[in-house]
């Protein structure tokens, strides 16, 4: 909790970084949405049925017919979206080195040139770490094949068991994905904090850190998950109460939803900050003890 509190403070301290992250998240969303929105306004904007989209049902007349009669624009959006997601992934991977560096250097104010410089410095290593993580994901995927065959055999024709095993498999996969994600997060952090240049050493450090402090690492993620769930419930409850049919409600809805997006961007930064803090708090004293010196750089 102490680490969490510290991390929240640091996130607020780096408000510019927070705003920057929010902006880079909204830009691709706008790029895809704008043409679709204007096509929708042209198609249904003046129709009496357009009001029915407020009921939120995807089978409401204007949404259903928009989907049928605007295949061109929807396929354009459908093609653009994966491209933008890939680009965003690399942009975020690029920035992550700078973000980690920012949180590792406490009490310094955020500077954009520094973010770019540090991001560029760590980007090649981060790409390599991402490639190694793909290997782990591939192993997880391959492991799923015999596991699903085994579970299918165990379940036989019992529908309750089929459902139970399906949920277990999904749950196990989520657990493994969280573990892989955590280990590679610490591999990225160790690259920045310990100035590791060799990717495999970073990956090894990440996994070692995870295996040394599994409960702390997973506990941190668990807390974030808990916060996320609590915030989500609050968000959905308030969002439901906003009367979007009225002009005032529309403006409120825009603001409230974007505040929520902003909060989620902040949560992401807080998670990174908390992971950096956890690593600094436990790994650096350990390395000092291990090497008997604070100079453990390669």
């Amino acid at each position: 909790m102490k680490i969490l509190y510290k991390s929240v403070k640091e996130t607020f301290y780096n408000m510019k970084l927070w705003i920057f992250l929010y902006i880079i998240q909204i830009v691709p969303a706008l790029l895809v949405s704008i043409p679709v929105n204007s096509a929708f306004a042209r198609f249904a904007g003046k129709s009496a049925v357009v009001d029915s989209i407020f009921n939120g049902n995807i089978f409401s007349v204007p949404l259903m017919e928009f989907n049928v009669y605007n295949k061109d624009i929807l396929s354009y959006a459908g093609n653009l979206l994966p491209l933008l997601l890939i680009l965003f992934y690399f942009l975020y991977l690029f920035l992550k080195g700078g973000i980690i560096y920012r949180f590792s250097e406490r009490n310094k104010t955020f500077e954009f040139p520094e973010l770019m410089k540090k991001s560029a410095e760590y980007f090649p290593n981060f790409i390599k770490i991402a490639l190694v993580s793909v290997l782990f994901l591939l192993i997880l995927f391959l492991l799923n094949i015999p596991v699903s065959i085994l579970l299918k055999r165990l379940a036989g024709d019992s529908e309750p068991l089929i459902v139970l095993f399906l949920f277990c498999r999904i749950l196990l996969n989520i657990c493994f994905l969280i573990i892989i994600k955590a280990a590679f997060d610490y591999a990225q952090i160790s690259t920045v904090i310990l100035k590791k240049k060799k990717v495999f050493k970073s990956v090894k450090n990440g996994w070692r850190f995870f295996s040394q402090y599994p409960f702390k690492v997973l506990g941190l993620i668990f807390y974030f998950f808990l916060f996320f769930i609590v915030f989500s419930i609050i968000y959905y409850l308030i969002n439901m109460l906003i009367p979007v049919r009225y002009a005032f409600g529309s403006i409120m809805s825009i603001l409230f939803r974007q505040i929520w997006m902003f909060v989620k961007a902040g949560l992401l930064l807080t998670l990174i900050s908390a992971e950096v803090n956890l690593f600094s708090e436990y790994e650096i004293p350990f390395l000092k003890w291990w090497y008997g010196t604070s100079n453990n750089q390669e």
Binding site: Q25, I26, P28, A29, L30, V32, S33, N37, F40, A41, F43, A44, G45, K46, S47, A48, V49, V50, D51, I53, F54, G56, N57, I58, F59, V61, P62, M64, E65, F66, V68, Y69, L81, L85, F88, Y89, Y92, L93, K96, A130, D157, S158, E159, P160, I162, V163, K181, V244, R245, Y246, A247, S250, S253, I254, R257, M261, K264, A265, L268, L271
Partner: protein, 638 residues
């Protein structure tokens, strides 16, 4: 006195002749079957004999007979059925998984051995590898009004359940399993089509006496009444009897659970396995709703029995099929109550007891008469008992009703094909759209035009006139015209026999302030114009975008809430309405009650003068947030 006695005697003879006259049967019963068969559960094989009694009810002699041998559809991947099915045949890919039927011997009542006279034919597609229809040259023709009795020894190898019929472990769904006659038509030709992926069945009515021998531990259910069930050693013998039906199917498994209720004088038997226990009540409720509805919209269910099967896990491909007095539905373990797939399939398949079972149209050539009419009934029943907006799915953010579902499938495909065509000639998903969904919208549109009461009368009359007979599309249209007293051929020509698109659109709505009066006016006009200085010139243009023509209502609403209603015959391409009033138009709408469910675009049916910014903004926010969420998920992963 002697004379009097003679009279009395004559009257008595007349009366006795009256009572001795056989009771009028429901159907002509010209194709009856007496089948005795044994199931070898190990080999998944049936072996038996059948006696077919066929009467030629036409005025033409029959020199041959034609038999459906539909299990041969699963004989190899060159059969017409499997070629049309495409996709993976993995389920059948082992030797013991293919299915076939073999006629070992066929003789007539004069003991002529006709086995060598049997030849396979392929009238639909000339596929020489298809063995689903056989012709047998008779030793002597069957003259009009005469009967022939055929004795057939046959063996049927059941396939692994690929579609509708076969086995899965110890479960057997046995349909299309015995040699069955085609229909000898008035023109002296047989109507006996090959088995296709997208086609169902067509046969004459008769009496079926079926004796099945199964391993003693098996439970058996199927078409008709179980007359006797006797266990002897390791075997159980079950005897079925059914009248006025045109097919027979049955099912067997040692793991069945059976629940029975009696409703409206019918014994309803539900056959299921223990994982599906939670669906028992739902299934009974659904079938009761269906029976109630059909009772008032067609006629009472006349049989004493109805069997419903929920196929076990692993055998879902046996589900969703109809056989006389026996339907296969389908369900899942603890399926949530707001997902009404179990109800939907139960209601649909029950409906086929009427539209297929009793009203026996040719399903190959005019599938809409059973699938389409039945889907229309399904939609009415589901909407009535489960709510129009959410009759299929009733989740908080996803509600799907029958009409929405039908429109969603149809509107993007309006011109793709037509409804009246042989079912096997459709391509892609055309069969489903034009035999199921479009007829729902077409009949619902007709109902909206003529009224529910007349529609009900149409179906009651159609059922009454054509039950246990073979009607065609023209017979149905004839009844529509007769009951309504109007000629609706124009309607069916456009939407049934052709595929014209129906789309009326409010093309534009404008209201402009009139300029200040300038020029030469009479004094009275000048006064009037001065009095109404804020006059607006408004124009509404309605466009018939599609080729189809329908009379439509037009509603025009002004900003002071005044409204005007017009009836337009819808024939011209354009219709223009102009007004000079002291109010602007708020919006105009064509077909404001959405009567024309075949209209391919409801969104363009109405038009405001101004854009609805609140709704479009809401759409924008939702869309942006959706993409933002995707991007944020990616950020957490990276």
């Amino acid at each position: 006195m002697k004379k009097l006695w003679c009279h009395v005697f004559a009257v008595l003879i007349f009366c006795s002749s009256l009572t001795a006259q056989p009771a009028r049967t429901k159907s002509l019963r010209n194709a009856s079957y007496n089948i005795k068969v044994t199931l070898n559960a190990q080999k998944k094989q049936l072996s038996g004999t059948e006696i077919i009694t066929w009467k030629n009810i036409t005025s033409k002699p029959a020199t041959d007979i034609r038999l459906h041998l539909y299990m041969n559809a699963f004989k190899n991947n060159y059969s017409t059925f499997l070629k049309e099915a495409g996709g993976s045949l993995k389920l059948l890919s082992k030797k013991e998984r293919w299915g076939w039927i073999k006629i070992r011997k066929i003789t007539d009542s004069y003991n002529n051995n006709l086995t060598d006279k049997l030849k396979f034919i392929h009238p639909d597609d000339n596929n020489s590898e298809d063995r689903t229809v056989a012709v047998v040259k008779l030793a002597r023709p069957v003259l009009p009004g005469r009967k022939i009795i055929l004795n057939i020894d046959f063996t049927t190898q059941l396939p692994a359940i690929y579609a509708r019929t076969g086995y899965y472990k110890n479960f057997f769904m046995i349909a299309q399993w015995f040699p069955k006659l085609g229909v000898f038509q008035k023109n002296g030709e047989w109507n006996c089509h090959q088995f296709h992926r997208n086609s169902e069945f067509f046969s004459d009515y008769g009496i079926y006496d079926v004796t099945v021998n199964v391993p003693a531990e098996f439970k058996v259910a199927g078409t008709g009444n179980i007359v006797s069930e006797v266990k002897k050693g390791l075997t159980k013998t079950v005897v079925f009897h059914a009248e006025d039906i045109h097919d027979f199917a049955w099912t067997a498994s040692p793991d069945f659970l059976i629940k029975e209720i009696n409703y409206r004088g019918t014994n309803i038997k539900l056959v299921y396995e223990k994982d599906h226990s939670s669906s028992v009540k739902r299934t009974f409720t659904a079938v009761k709703h269906a029976m109630d509805f059909f009772n008032s919209w067609a006629g009472p269910y006349p049989y004493k029995n109805l069997t419903i099967l929920h196929p076990p896990t692993g055998a879902f491909r046996a589900g969703g099929m109809e056989y006389p007095q026996f339907i296969t539905a389908g369900t899942f373990w603890n399926i949530p109550a707001n997902l009404r797939f179990t109800e939907l399939v139960t209601v649909h398949e029950f409906g086929h007891q009427y539209w297929y079972g009793m009203v026996g149209n040719n399903e190959f050539e005019e599938a809409w008469l059973d699938e389409g009419i039945n889907s229309y009934f399904e939609s009415k029943i589901m909407d009535k008992y489960y709510g129009e907006e959410s009759s299929i799915i009733n989740l908080k953010f996803l509600k799907v009703g029958e009409i929405v579902n039908a429109r969603n499938t149809y509107i993007g495909n309006t011109r793709r094909d037509k409804t009246l065509r042989p079912s096997w000639t459709y391509t892609g998903g055309g069969y489903s759209i034009f035999s199921y969904q479009k007829p729902v919208l077409m009949l619902k549109t007709l109902e909206n035009i003529i009224g529910t009461d007349l529609m009900q009368k149409i179906f009651r009359t159609y059922f009454e006139q054509w039950k246990f007979r073979h009607p065609g599309t023209e017979n149905f249209i004839e009844i529509v015209n007769k009951v309504t007293g109007k000629d609706y051929n124009w309607f069916f020509d456009q939407f049934l026999k052709n595929s014209l698109e129906l789309d009326y659109k409010v093309a534009s709505v404008t209201s402009k302030k009139m300029p200040k009066p300038d020029g030469i006016f009479s004094d009275s006009t000048k006064k009037k114009l001065k009095k109404n200085s804020d006059l607006y010139y408004s124009v509404v243009k309605i466009h018939r975008k599609g080729e189809a023509v329908m009379p439509v209502d037009v509603l025009i609403v002004f900003d002071n809430s005044d409204s005007l209603r017009y009836k337009w015959d819808g024939k011209e391409r354009w219709k223009k309405y102009t007004f000079i009033r002291d109010n602007k138009i708020l919006y105009a709408e064509v077909d404001p009650q959405n009567k024309l469910l075949l209209d391919s675009n409801f969104t363009n049916n109405s038009r405001f003068t101004e854009k609805n910014r609140k709704a479009t903004t809401f759409f924008s926010i939702s869309l942006i947030c959706f993409y933002q969420n995707l991007i944020q998920i990616l950020s957490f992963i990276a």
